[in-house]
């Protein structure tokens, strides 16, 4: 198979999905083809140093390594569940890297790649899936809200946060993450209506990974999702979500516009969830035959690697170095996970309110006395 044939095959319509488009087709922004060729886009260009390119690659590779390790930990019973980002690394790292300090991200439950770019320790994310807490990082300090499990709820939070930025005269923006399925939730649409009404500095970053668990994108929308935004009166753009450079460029531009008072943008990052929805899921029940294989040819990491290699920006030693770093990271994650202390039972009561209620203090005291009873009884 020639490179061209392969390219053609890769970008063929994916069965069952609104098809991605050939490079250059105007409504899909692409700066790096699946084969790792740099291409230009009339509206989006990007200037990235070699250092930054290598750092981006490192992010992608380490995030995937983390993800693979977490999946393994779940299989071994160390995590209750894990939501894998496999295949969506470029969308997340690209979006995350587009943010500045002072911007605030509002993730779903799958944005480990964003968390990584915000400097959140993977173990903080893992503690949530292990059932130790609900995400241990400091959201404001990190510029990353806690994971939000109720589909779409965070889009309104991001919009409200953006309204606060306006009132503070802060030149920052909020970045709301959502999935393709989430676009059907009323609250998500309300968020877009509010963002438009107040010209709020918020960017809606939708990873269209083709599925909401088992439900394919056509059940949510018959037209490309990015077109939704125009109906609310603000721009929408579809970017190749497996092209980290394009994602970076498009998200940077949208965030800059937001910071400058031009209001919201909706970004549809066209990508694919290469793993299961979560470790509880069995995608063989609903995935169309050959689909996964098609998308493997569009792998976001392989693509950047090809570009870096071909262009000489990175050599084998660099890639080996990242691999080694990945192994260290995985080991640290594994160790940190299995050694993670179990939370104290009293934590059930201690953060429900900022000002504890007498009734809950009573329940807590009862709880403590009850458990002390067992300890005294030696049980």
């Amino acid at each position: 198979m020639t490179a061209l044939q392969q390219a053609t095959e890769v970008v063929d319509p994916v069965p069952g999905a609104q098809a991605p488009h050939l490079p250059g087709q105007p409504d899909l922004v692409q700066l790096l083809t699946p084969e790792g060729e740099r291409v230009e886009h009339p509206e989006y260009s990007i200037d990235v140093s070699d250092d930054e390119l290598r750092a981006v690659y490192r992010d992608l590779a380490l995030v995937r390594r983390w993800d693979v390790e977490a999946t393994a930990l779940q299989r071994q019973g160390e995590l209750g569940i894990w939501a894998s980002l496999l295949g969506q690394e470029a969308a997340q790292v690209g979006a995350g890297r587009a943010m500045e300090a002072g911007d605030m991200a509002f993730p779903t439950y799958r944005e480990h790649g964003v968390a990584w770019t915000r400097g959140v320790d993977p173990l903080h994310v893992i503690s949530l899936f292990r059932g130790v807490d609900m995400g241990g990082w400091d959201p404001i300090a990190a510029g990353l809200n806690l994971y939000t499990v109720v589909i779409g709820a965070q889009c309104l939070h991001a919009t409200g946060y953006a309204m606060a930025l306006q009132r503070d005269g802060a030149e920052h923006a909020a970045l709301a993450f959502l999935g393709d399925g989430a676009t059907s939730q009323g609250e998500v649409n309300e968020a877009m209506i509010w963002a438009a009404a107040f010209s709020a500095p918020v960017v809606f970053f939708c990873q269209n990974n083709q599925y909401a668990i088992s439900v394919p994108i056509e059940r949510q929308s018959r037209v490309p999702l990015y077109q939704r935004a125009a109906g609310f009166g603000f721009p929408g753009v579809r970017v190749d979500g497996n092209d980290v450079l394009a994602v970076l460029a498009v998200t940077r531009a949208a965030l800059a516009a937001a910071r400058e008072g031009q209001g919201p943008t909706f970004i549809e990052a066209f990508t694919y969830r290469m793993g299961a929805h979560t470790t509880s899921d069995d995608p063989t029940r609903y995935r169309l035959g050959g689909e996964l294989e098609q998308w493997k040819l569009r792998d976001p990491i392989a693509r950047l690697k090809a570009y870096l290699s071909r262009s000489g920006i990175a050599d084998a030693a660099f890639f080996d170095g990242v691999d080694a770093e990945g192994d260290e990271l995985a080991a640290r994650i594994r160790k940190g996970t299995v050694e993670m202390p179990a939370p104290a039972g009293t934590e059930i009561f201690d953060s429900v309110y900022a000002e504890q209620t007498p009734e809950l203090a009573r329940q807590r005291a009862e709880f403590v006395a009850y458990h002390e009873g067992f300890e005294e009884a030696g049980e």
Binding site: L146, L156, S351
Partner: protein, 325 residues
């Protein structure tokens, strides 16, 4: 300085003072700006504090509460108006899964000092969804606090205290009492927000009420007094957390307890109170806690609301039944 104020006006002044005291306080809701709210509770505030602090929102209650969360994350203290009790339900998801849980989810790193003002209850001759009493839904929701004011003094101070609270507060306003007046001392708060209060002493039966029913309970006590029966009336004021110590103290003396609310009987606040009073005052009770509530039906068309709502007679009937037990 004291001033004679209607309950609605007391709220208006309380909101104004909270906004003056803290620039982070902002009001959000449908029609609260130019119109001043359908009950005029926010009258004049947009004019004085501007459109950024008194925000006429799009018509979407989930949007109001959801954006309030984001504002609170940056230190704002949003005071959200829900136009009528029956229209809080589109915001229910944000309230129950987000507003109530974020402080806990973040182990205290994200306080949610949000106030949700809801004109509640019936008696104003309105159409469907304008006369509901949804308080039990909120009181069952861990992470929220719920208060119901019954008079202008508590309205004036209570709204300021709720806004100052670091926790989310559902602030229930007895809409049919908006026009009732009382002298309000504008200088000194009469006590903490999350506390019940004995509003009339008595020995024979303990009568509990909150919001619009406090007046009804007091009237019942008045009428009962004429027949030689001495009712102690407690204004519960805070529905979550409940403050039942004064109630227990009272019931230990009277041995009898009647709870009144407009909300449907089943799983209304009366249920929780009956359970707790029985548990705490078991040996003092000479009759079971009796409940007077709305029936277990949707709120009826307004021509039937007088028959639906607890009134003086139904309260007295329950008092009689308690005494006869």
């Amino acid at each position: 300085m004291t001033q004679k104020l209607a309950l609605g006006k007391a709220l208006n002044l309380g909101l104004r003072r909270a906004m003056e005291d803290d620039p982070k306080v902002l009001l959000m809701g449908e029609d609260i700006g130019r119109l001043g709210g359908v009950f005029r509770i926010t009258d004049g505030l947009q004019k004085d504090f501007g459109e950024d602090r008194v925000v006429d929102t799009p018509l979407a209650e989930a949007g109001i509460l959801g954006t309030a969360v984001g504002l609170a994350m940056r230190g704002y203290r949003p005071v959200c108006e829900i136009q009528f009790d029956g229209f809080v339900f589109p915001a229910y998801n944000q309230l129950v899964t987000q507003v109530a849980k974020i402080h806990n989810r973040s182990r205290g790193k994200l306080p949610m000092p949000i106030v949700v003002r809801i004109p509640f209850g019936g008696g104003i001759g309105a159409v469907e969804h304008h006369s509901e009493s949804p308080e039990a839904y909120f009181a069952h929701t861990a992470g929220l606090k719920v208060v119901a004011v019954s008079n202008p003094v508590d309205a004036y101070w209570g709204i300021q205290q709720a806004i100052a609270s670091p926790d989310p507060v559902i602030f229930l306003e007895p809409k049919r009492r908006y026009w009732e007046k009382a002298e309000v001392d504008l200088d000194a708060a009469p006590g903490p927000l999350f506390a019940s209060r004995v509003v009339r002493g008595g020995d024979d039966v303990t009568l509990l009420a909150y919001g619009p029913m406090v007046k009804t309970a007091l009237q019942a006590a008045e009428a009962a007094a004429e027949e030689g029966r001495s009712l102690e009336v407690v204004d519960l004021r805070t529905l979550s957390p409940l403050d039942l110590d004064p109630v227990f103290e009272s019931v230990r003396r009277t041995g009898r307890c009647v709870v009144v609310h407009e909300a449907p009987l089943t799983l209304g606040l009366g249920a929780e109170i009956a359970a707790r009073v029985a548990e705490t005052c078991f040996h003092s009770l000479e009759a079971p806690v009796l409940r007077v509530g709305g029936y277990d039906t949707p709120y009826p068309p307004s021509k039937l609301e007088e028959e639906y709502l607890p009134d003086l007679d139904r309260v007295l009937d329950a008092v009689d039944r308690s005494l006869a037990f």
